[in-house]
Symmetry: C2
Subunit: 220 residues, 2 copies
């Protein structure tokens, strides 16, 4: 008797799938910042009950992708200039911790290799805007993962939704300037040298530049 095929059964709950669908719809730009997300419409469109959509929306609200407006109505979030500046300062602190812990680890060279693979993906994204975004964020989350500190990853992910709406609030035409291998290589090099102050300075500057980028010429 054969035992191979039997495709993996999807054991995820409906709520999880709806959550992923909505998150994807927002981060892909199908819903723009400010758009109203009505429970009834979404439930009808997804073919599930309101309660299920509701739970997914509440989850996205805590992720910062969605925010409550008048009368509890939810809409796609968009950050103010001050929030964006603060966001990138927090990211600088978190990713500064990440490089600190990576440099302190014995398997630093393995981390460097993994990071190089991440920038290669960024280089391979070409002109595909969505792929560039994924590769860029993928590099930074990988940075956190390689620190070996799950709580750091958790904290970083808590900011991810806010970053994604910020990215989506801009014109895709002018964003690629930020997401190039050249901007990320210095971080890896400093880690490889074991140059902690240098790595911290590079991360700091990387985030400051990103903050400037996303706070100028806002809203498309």
């Amino acid at each position: 008797m054969s035992v191979e095929p039997l495709p993996n059964i999807d054991r995820s709950t409906l709520r999880e799938r709806v959550l992923r669908a909505l998150r994807s719809a927002i981060t892909s730009g199908a819903y723009r910042p400010g758009d109203h997300l009505g429970e009834v419409e979404l439930a009808g469109r997804l073919g599930v009950s309101r309660g299920t959509v509701r739970e997914a929306l509440r989850h996205l609200q805590q992720e910062g992708l969605v925010t409550a407006g008048n009368r509890g109505m939810l809409r796609v979030n968009s950050l103010s200039v001050e929030e964006i500046r603060g966001l990138f300062r927090v990211r600088a602190a978190l990713e500064g911790l990440a490089v600190t812990e990576i440099i302190a680890r014995p398997d630093r060279s393995a981390a460097v290799a993994a990071l190089r693979a991440a920038v290669d993906e960024l280089a391979g994204a070409g002109d595909d805007f969505a792929a560039k975004v994924e590769a860029d964020l993928g590099f930074h989350v990988r940075l956190c993962e390689l620190s070996g500190n799950p709580m750091l990853v958790e904290s970083w992910r808590h900011l991810e939704g806010r970053m994604r709406v910020t990215i989506m609030n801009r014109d895709p035409e002018e964003a690629p300037a930020m997401m190039t291998p050249g901007r990320h290589a210095p971080i890896i090099e400093a880690i490889e040298r074991g140059d902690l102050p240098g790595a911290l300075a590079v991360v700091e500057e990387h985030m400051a530049a990103a903050a400037d980028h996303f706070t100028s010429t806002r809203a498309r």
Copy 2:
């Protein structure tokens, strides 16, 4: 016609009130880490429907107060030793950013005064364990607030639930050693001097000591 009294109407939703009640029940120790939180039991005890309790529980799950166990059943969270160490390293990074921004602000002396008031509350808590916990966490969240970076506060609060279950997982008898005015004063003094490297070192050491404290003699 008189216009004064008319007590403020509570416009909070039932879900918000249930959320606060459950959060309070956990952080006060009524439910211990590992305890199972059944939707039916809670709904019956609170006199609300399961759906409402469910939403509150999901919120607490994202806060890290509650975690999913077998078959989606939720129980009060408890952190491993590694998670606790990582948690306090992230806190060190965040609160390090806080002191950095406070020192850079022009109204630094006002922040110092506010922080002194916070440690006074800690001193006035006496032997009341719950009051000491509130005053201690109050000091640190105040530190973040005074940075003027709302995103920093948001990130810190995201860790608050995990800290609270960690605190609650220990014997109240031996915790007070951590939460004394003497342990917090050096932070304020370094800020007052404008001594950034000194302040960072103090915060770092404060968090390392706290991590050691909460990873030794675990579980009561």
